[in-house]
């Protein structure tokens, strides 16, 4: 039996579709017992109450819709929907920044290799300014995500990390495609495998607006929220 942390990671990987064979991890987590009667060692319920509509995200990653009805829908769950969103958001934010760093590398390398008008396109200031913008969005999202990883239970930190990573994803994909030109929009080129994931992941487990609303609720006294300090009665609150 792996320890809790390992189990959580394996289960998450299985649920999030990162493993070819998710069943061992799901089994370990007790999630394959659904539909198996309790006296037979399962967690009960009727599989007829579970409807699965297969689907994918824009990157072709498996994203099935699962609808649960009847008794199963009221099975007690050890984690809340909010917890799943929070963990999922941090997880996606990490994936986003990893992908974005790779996109930055590809864009910078291509700008140095591709020649037009007798010089690499990266020699043009218009292109340089765009690449700098790309790098800026990646760097700020990256440091936000790394900071959030230190306090993974802090909703403000995770919300801010996902918000910035999701925001950056759009800018990064736009600039990288603009720099690459038409070769970037073919499925043969590696860029698309990354940018399609950016477009999918930025909205999974809450996009910018979802987390912005949450931060709007949590951040009515914004300075204390941002510095993660309590507002005491004698601090500035005008």
């Amino acid at each position: 039996m792996p320890d809790d942390k390992e189990l959580l990671e394996e289960t998450a990987n299985a649920i999030l579709g990162l493993e070819d064979d998710p069943w061992p991890a799901l089994d370990e987590a007790g999630l394959t017992g659904v539909g198996v009667p309790e006296h037979a060692g399962g967690s009960g319920g009727d599989l007829a109450d579970v409807a699965v509509r297969p689907g994918t995200n824009v990157a072709g990653e498996s994203r099935d819709d699962v609808t649960v009805r009847g008794d199963l829908a009221s099975v007690e769950c050890p984690v809340s929907a909010g917890d799943v969103m929070l963990r999922g958001a941090l997880f996606r934010a990490v994936q986003l920044t990893g992908a974005m760093r790779r996109v930055l590398e590809l864009a910078v390398r291509y700008a140095g290799e591709r020649e037009q008008f007798g010089r690499p396109v990266g020699r043009f200031q218009a292109v340089q300014q765009q690449l700098a913008e790309l790098a800026g969005e990646v760097a700020v999202a990256d440091v936000a995500v790394r900071a959030a990883l230190r306090t993974p239970d802090d909703e403000v930190a995770v919300a801010a990390a996902k918000l910035n990573a999701s925001r950056a994803a759009g800018v990064v994909a736009d600039v990288a495609h603009q720099v690459h030109g038409a070769i970037g929009v073919t499925s043969e080129h590696p860029l698309g495998a990354l940018t399609t994931r950016l477009w999918a992941w930025r909205d999974e487990f809450g996009g910018e607006t979802h987390w912005a609303r949450r931060l709007g609720e949590l951040g009515r006294v914004p300075w204390e929220t941002v510095t993660r300090t309590d507002a005491s009665p004698d601090t500035v609150t005008w």
Binding site: L131, A132, E133, V143, L163, N164
Partner: protein, 368 residues
């Protein structure tokens, strides 16, 4: 290729108590919160009060009147002051860069003369870099430094010199050796103010406010600051400090506070989230500087994105608060908006235009 790399900063030990002290002081202090208070909010009495509490020259050694504290402890103090919109403009340049710079490059006599006074809030500095024909292309400065009877004399004109009319001294970048190597013949000088041969004239801002000056040197007495011919290196070494601090994303924070408390929702939350990330980035640069690394590229990024955020705040405030900018309105929101709108063009110009900053980033990435 160097990809930007920022390790999140670690809050200073005991930073919480320091923060509480500053907050208690600010809650009791009497001032009107402003936008852009670090440039346009000068109050010498307030500066002296901060000095008395040990919140100026914090990182300077005790033997020079400082408090021997870390850059991250100073970060806590200045971000609290900026977030409150406190009038920190008088001492800002002296505390931010001249203290550390004099400690690094000054003679023993200069250290004794300036550092304790800076830490007491009794010595304000102005910076003489830009000239009528030299803006982004700083190495083209023409102000001349000549040795006359063993003493340096300056001749030339500096512009956009914030606070020169209240400063006790000014640091000046000047050409000390003619010649084709533009970066080699530059040196830094200190001019104690007021002085013979120095004329300070106001250049009114868009709303008529006075912080900019034109400073004309006509054979003005000056003392060499640092090594002769080392001016360019000294100036560029300071830039990471100058470009990455919290003043590069908090200039319009007073509006953020209003939007968040009056109209909480997705729009205010977007600002909170962005602010959280920019502050982490700024803290990360402070941490890198403290650790002796060279985060020039990262500092340029922070300033580019931070100053654009300061402007974004204005549009969100306009959309959410529904007030007209009015400098004399009884409504605080209208006054703050008026201050922010007229200062906003400067956010992305001062300390290196955003286009120059992105050029630095592009060079760091290896495409330039």
């Amino acid at each position: 290729m160097a990809l930007p790399e920022l390790e999140p900063g670690v809050p200073p030990p005991d930073g919480g108590r320091l923060r509480e002290d500053v907050r208690r002081f600010l809650a009791a202090a009497e001032f009107e919160p402003r936008c852009d208070s670090w440039l346009t909010g000068a109050d010498p009495d307030f500066s002296r009060e901060l000095g008395a509490r040990g919140w100026l020259g914090m990182t300077l050694p005790v033997e020079y009147g400082g408090r021997g504290r870390s850059a991250l402890e100073r970060f806590v103090v200045i971000e609290e002051l900026l977030a409150a919109g406190a009038p920190v403009g008088a001492h800002w340049i002296a505390d931010r860069q001249m203290g550390p710079s004099i400690l690094a490059h000054g003679t023993e006599e200069q250290k004794r003369a300036f550092l304790p006074a800076i830490a007491r809030g009794e010595c304000f500095f102005a910076i003489g870099m830009s000239e009528p024909d030299s803006g982004s292309d700083l190495a083209s400065v023409r102000t001349r430094a000549e040795r006359v009877d063993g003493a340096w004399r300056l001749t030339g004109t500096k512009v956009w010199t914030s606070g020169a009319h209240i400063a006790h001294a000014m640091v000046v970048l000047a050409r000390s050796a003619p010649g084709p190597a533009r970066h080699e013949g530059l040196s830094q000088f200190i001019v104690r103010l007021p002085a013979e041969g120095v004329a300070v004239r106001p250049i009114p801002g868009l709303s008529g406010e006075h912080h900019f000056n034109e400073v004309v040197f006509d054979g003005a007495p000056a003392e060499l600051f640092g090594r002769e011919g080392d001016g360019w290196r000294q100036v560029t070494a300071e830039l990471a400090y100058e470009r990455s601090g919290p003043e590069r994303f908090l200039s319009t924070f007073a509006l953020v506070r209003l939007v968040c408390s009056l109209t909480p929702g997705a729009a205010s939350g977007r600002l909170v989230g962005r602010l959280w990330a920019l502050r982490q980035a700024s803290l990360a640069v402070a941490g890198a500087l403290e650790a002796g690394r060279d985060p020039t590229l990262e500092a340029a990024l922070v300033k580019d994105l931070g100053t654009r955020f300061e402007r974004e705040v204005i549009d969100v405030a306009r959309e959410q608060l529904g007030v007209e900018p009015d400098p004399a309105s009884p409504d605080l929101a209208a006054r703050l908006l008026a201050q922010a709108v007229v200062q906003a063009p400067g956010f992305t110009l001062r300390g290196g235009t955003n286009e120059i900053l992105r050029g630095i980033v592009a060079r760091g990435l290896g495409v330039r």
